[in-house]
């Protein structure tokens, strides 16, 4: 079983008692090179080892040594040097906000999360949360909870007349147990931040923006923005709103400061930013992508951000979008360090807007700047026709 930071699915209507008192507990004592102790835990580790062998060779793993060293460094600075030695960290190129942890210490963080986080403190909050699942042995306790629950249901179906209500409450108990584990991982994550150089308030900021993006995605798809105030019956995670609220309260209680290291984060991500942006733009999620871009451009529109925004508008392709796209391409080009593809996008936007001659000029520029482009032959026919 894998632990994920984000709830993939929130359905159901029934409410559960809110986690009222989330006190920030001290960190548990740490044991180096922990080994699974009993048959249940050895089984969980064996399955996790098998999954990790598969993951290690997967095509989605980003193997760039610099990026891996950087993200690992943030993990170590958050949870401490001794703790971080027990983790193998994999960066996956998947454009969604997520991070996962398995029983044996396999941690993944997805490129969509790296794109959305703004500084080292927020990255530390996410990685610390995942490490919390590992340190608190959540996979094992969740497995045991489910097994004893299903044993209970099996006996109840034989021994108790009309045991349906009991089964429903037991199943509900599984999900409530998972949510309680998520909350405790959040709280231990805050505790790691508090002992690190990073400010613990960063954890709550992440969830505020995730809510904003979910609303923007819904509105962009002509749906109602739909934030849940209480976790549903089948929800595996607390609501984003609940997490933002209790994390904010916990950080205020701790009241620590420190630098979130936003500049260092931006610099480390810079080589990958165009790739991650392109992955996001190709998701056909105009509202969400526009929100992410606006968040990233809080301190001003850089060339990669302008180019990504132009591609996003050109992809949606309404007549007004093509006009906007051409403008963003021109802004990117005016900054002087735009990639050749900016001329390609400008040319194609203009062609689709029936501005044939200016479009051809831009496409000729593209061919001059990148004569060996994969689509050079095709673009030449557009210029010549």
């Amino acid at each position: 079983m894998r632990w994920r930071i984000a709830a993939a699915l929130t359905i159901g209507m029934a409410s559960t008692p809110a986690m009222a008192a989330n006190k920030v507990a001290p960190l548990p004592p740490y044991v180096a090179a922990y080994q699974p102790t009993n048959v249940d835990e050895r089984g969980a580790w064996m399955m996790a080892d098998e999954d990790e062998r598969h993951l290690r060779d997967a095509a989605d793993v980003i193997r760039d040594p610099a990026l891996n060293a950087y993200v690992r460094g943030v993990l170590c600075r958050t949870v401490g040097e001794d703790r971080c030695k027990s983790v193998r960290l994999y960066i996956l190129r998947v454009p969604a906000f997520n991070a996962t942890m398995t029983a044996n210490g396999t941690m993944t963080i997805w490129s969509g999360a790296l794109l959305r986080l703004r500084n080292e403190a927020e990255l530390g909050a996410v990685l610390g949360h995942e490490f919390g699942h590992f340190e608190l042995r959540h996979t094992l306790s969740s497995f045991r909870n489910r097994r004893s629950g299903s044993d209970l249901m099996a006996w109840a179906s034989i021994l108790v007349a009309n045991s349906g209500a009991m089964q429903i409450s037991t199943i509900g108990g599984f999900y409530a147990f998972d949510r309680a584990q998520e909350t405790s991982a959040d709280m231990i994550g805050v505790r790691y931040l508090a002992t690190s150089r990073y400010p613990s308030a960063a954890a709550a900021d992440v969830w505020d923006r995730i809510m904003g993006e979910a609303d923007a995605t819904a509105i962009g798809r002509h749906r109602k923005a739909n934030q849940k105030y209480v976790a549903g019956f089948f929800a595996t995670h607390p609501t984003n709103l609940a997490r933002a609220t209790y994390l904010r309260a916990a950080a205020q209680e701790i009241g620590d400061g420190g630098s979130a290291a936003a500049d260092a984060y931006r610099a480390a991500l810079a080589p990958w930013l165009p790739t991650f942006l392109a992955d996001q733009v190709k998701l056909n999620d105009f509202g969400g992508s526009e929100f992410v871009l606006a968040q990233l451009a809080a301190d001003g529109w850089t060339t990669p951000l302008l180019f990504a925004r132009a591609e996003l508008y050109r992809e949606r392709g309404n007549p007004r979008d093509l006009v906007s796209a051409a403008g963003f391409y021109q802004d990117a080009i005016a900054r002087g360090d735009a990639p050749p593809e900016a001329y390609r996008g400008l040319g194609l936007s203009l062609l689709r807007s029936q501005q044939i001659e200016p479009g051809k000029v831009a496409l000729r520029d593209y061919l001059r700047r990148k004569p060996d482009a994969g689509d050079a032959a095709l673009i030449s026919t557009l210029v010549d026709s």
Partner: protein
Amino acid sequence: MSFRRLGLSVAIAAALISVPAIAGNKLIPAGTRIAVAKSTLTVQPASEWNKLGARPGRNAETWTLDGDALNDLTFYGGIDAGKPLFREADRKNRPLPTVSATMLITDIPALLESSYRIALGTAAMSIGTVEPVTFAGGKGVRFTYAFTRQGETLHRRGEGRGAMIGGRLYLITYEAPALYYFDRSVAAARQVADSARL
């Protein structure tokens, strides 16, 4: 029950279970011109193919030699503006991009790329070379691509030919594992795509 009897009954059970799944599959004979993807697009294969009963979408159809995981020749026959390339698994949360009547031929590979990225949940999908070609009598595009499904290690290669004709998208794609299978049947697939006519 002896092992032999057990083996036989397992075989019968397997045959019974698999009957509904293969019921719609059909042998495509060599040398006959045939309409594909419930459209006016026709092709004339020089060798035998198998048509799968399961369609990727309303105006799409898949042929294969050894199973669609090993070689997959898919026809998209005149996808209307406003429609996605293939059936959407989750329209609410992961809607696919749709065909637009004003698309340039450069947008055809981009549409396939974006659709695959969303449907397969992977960022490991890229377009290779893109070149002009005459396809089904129209001005079209021929492109290569490569992708890996999320969490898999198997690299697949693909080749597509498409054109916008009368505001509709006509597209034929061939894809197979890069190891051995792509090269083995690419010539047969190209022959089918070359024979496309409207």
